[in-house]
Symmetry: C2
Subunit: 415 residues, 2 copies
């Protein structure tokens, strides 16, 4: 795409109430727009990043057998009353409103209840199980404060998946395969090295739930890390008993600040009992379905990636999530022959199937073009200028070295 | 995909309050789930249809220069007060709620205001224009009644695009290119023959707005149709003066019921003045931006398609929007050799890049499989059975004739 056509130009200004690094950088670089505290619109570049992450998550969820659906924002009171989560005393993040006939409705801050209630229609017999469903949903949460940019919003995108199985064994098998799928997701988005499977507090049915915690100073959590064993313990369950139980060495544990990017949870049959979600087993008896829930904060991931992959100049997107692969900078574009050369490189890269943002501005100086490229953070910067002659100049965003090469070499290098 | 893995089985039951044909068929066929009146979740098959339509619309909007973004559901009161559309007296479909600090917030029923207000940040000079942006947004509207299934919902997906231009001429050019893009969209989704560019009431700046109206008894509108000239007049502007002005012959006009699937509207500089959306022109003066808005009801389109493309047996999806191209029915699957043959056909079609839903159920009778296939409405039905021998039996959903052929012939025929 041509930068001259992109409306979301870079800017030096950020809203005065914006204190988080992730939102500041994303606003400056033109990825997001702040509508109010904790509520952000995604502009062309930002939406591309979100869609790239969604596609990675989608592929991994499909691999474990997930079926994609989309539930609704509007929520019925009766459903949530069954699990005692309608009252504001029990759940303090509800947005609520009323239909014209005065019926109270809520706006979805989570979807375990409506999905599970819907499943009472589709799950009747052991033959209908297992079922694994997921969605990418915009969650609405009436948070008291929202100061972490896109890492904790009042409106944000989450992937939530739910598993419905016949038995604890079947559940455990899926739960474990999801742990692997999640680790693969975090690896693919570039956070594999700093994201840890973390033991956290469980519920009525399991001692632990599991979180996926990514090391970042911008996080709100604290975990104790065993880098060798590749696991962590959330401080909420950090006791000598748990340390012994997990077989880790207390002396080696490292206390770090983290952000929770995913969590998975076993409900056993608790929710199924509340919602009358039963099935007829092979013996002909009616028994409750076993339920698990599996979340990944999609827009939070964008924020965590920016917190981690950035320097004083701007963002440095990992290749798999970057909105474009190549940032083509055309210099000296007032010179028709260099302009036509830059246009030709743009076409050749595009024809080779490489996603390119092409800074084709004529009246903008080289310095501004370079600082915009650094701010936006596309992995490969390619310069066409008077100086580059018949070649192009390639530089990685996170490197200081640049290299002259032919367009053919460039294509084989970045593709 | 294997039908045995799809959780959203067909069903004979529909909610007792569901009176619309589109929702009844989509619920029976397992495409949607009714959460409450006018609020539907989209299950795997339904989501695929929605995504297919979105992709067609996306391609056409990109062709006219649209940039995709996504705005927020949560809305600030101040923004809507500027255009006098916050008050419930002025707009009677608002859902509203409050932040913890008692600040009132609304839920987006439209997005002209927040997008245009955001543009005050990005549009400063004539050099920043034109800008064309669009989104696929879930709109929330507190409708008094919601009885038309997914054709008029309290929660629904809309594509809304906005154009920001320097002059009426530039605006007109884009407006006209969007008319062509819209006609192409309706053609591609299968409604081209029954969808008409319709003259409807305008506003302060233009005598007419334009709607795209599709002939259907399930619609809520009435238009007067000139089939020869391929245009229609909404009854709201149906006067002798307008008839003369448009040069149509009153005697030839046909009164029909229709559903509005798209509409486009010129705002001139009205909204820009209200929202202080100005730019510096080439003469150095600050002048208001010219604004246009362009909507397509994505989920409404799904409903209209079902109303039109269905018979007493079920849905008949047009190829471009169908969730799968082929419905492969394996009969006699208790016979291992036929089962393995059906599996082989499934693999061959899939490997050829054809999207297939494979009814691999073993204990289900042929009659039920056929009636499920008719209900779901995939364009091509392929049967593998004892009878089909080394061939397969191909039938179009809307035809009674079936034909035996080899898998190779099948692939070249449906691809």
């Amino acid at each position: 795409m041509r930068y001259s056509k992109l409306f979301s130009k870079t800017s030096k200004e950020v809203p005065s109430d914006e204190v988080s690094k992730n939102a500041q950088l994303l606003i400056k670089a033109g990825f997001i727009h702040k509508e109010m505290a904790g509520v952000y619109a995604y502009l062309p570049l930002g939406l591309k990043v979100v869609e790239n992450i969604k596609q990675i998550v989608r592929e991994e969820m499909n691999k474990v057998g997930g079926e994609e659906i989309i539930m609704t924002a509007l929520q019925r009171k009766e459903v949530w009353e069954k699990t005692d989560r309608w009252s504001d005393d029990k759940v303090d993040v509800w947005f609520k409103s009323k239909l014209k006939n005065d019926t109270e409705v809520g706006f979805g801050w989570s979807h375990e209840e409506p999905i599970s209630e819907m499943m009472t229609k589709y799950i009747k017999s052991y033959r209908d199980l297992p079922v694994y469903v997921y969605q990418f949903q915009t969650k609405l949460r009436n948070e008291l404060r929202a100061k972490s940019g896109i890492m904790r919003g009042r409106e944000f995108v989450m992937k939530d998946m739910y598993s419905y199985t016949t038995s604890e064994e079947e559940h455990k098998k899926f739960y474990d395969s999801t742990i692997q799928a999640y680790l693969e997701v975090f690896k693919r988005v570039g956070l594999g090295d700093i994201t840890y499977l973390t033991f956290a507090s469980g519920g009525a049915f399991t001692q632990f739930s599991h979180e996926f915690q990514t090391i970042t100073d911008a996080g709100e959590d604290v975990v104790y890390l065993d880098r060798e064993k590749n696991i962590a313990i959330n401080e909420e369950v950090y006791t000598d008993e748990v340390i012994n139980q997990l077989g880790v060495d207390k002396a080696k544990l490292e206390k770090v600040k983290t952000a929770e990017v995913g969590n998975i949870f076993s409900f056993g049959d608790t929710k199924s009992k509340q919602l009358d979600l039963n099935y007829i087993n092979e013996a002909g008896e009616s028994v409750p379905v076993i339920l698990g829930s599996y979340g990944i904060g999609i827009t939070r991931l964008v924020g965590v990636i920016v917190e981690h992959f950035s320097d004083e100049k701007g963002i440095m997107w990992p290749e798999n999530v970057a909105p474009f692969k190549v940032h083509l900078v055309g210099l000296n574009q007032e010179d028709e022959s260099i302009k036509s050369k830059a246009n030709k490189v743009y076409e050749e890269l595009t024809n080779a199937g490489i996603e390119v943002i092409f800074d084709d501005r004529v009246e903008t100086q080289a310095g501004e073009k370079f600082s915009d490229a650094d701010l936006i953070g596309i992995p490969w910067r390619v310069v066409v200028s008077k100086k580059s002659g018949d070649q192009v100049e390639l530089k990685k965003r996170d490197s200081k070295e640049s290299q002259l090469m032919s367009v053919e070499e460039l294509i084989s290098k970045v593709k």
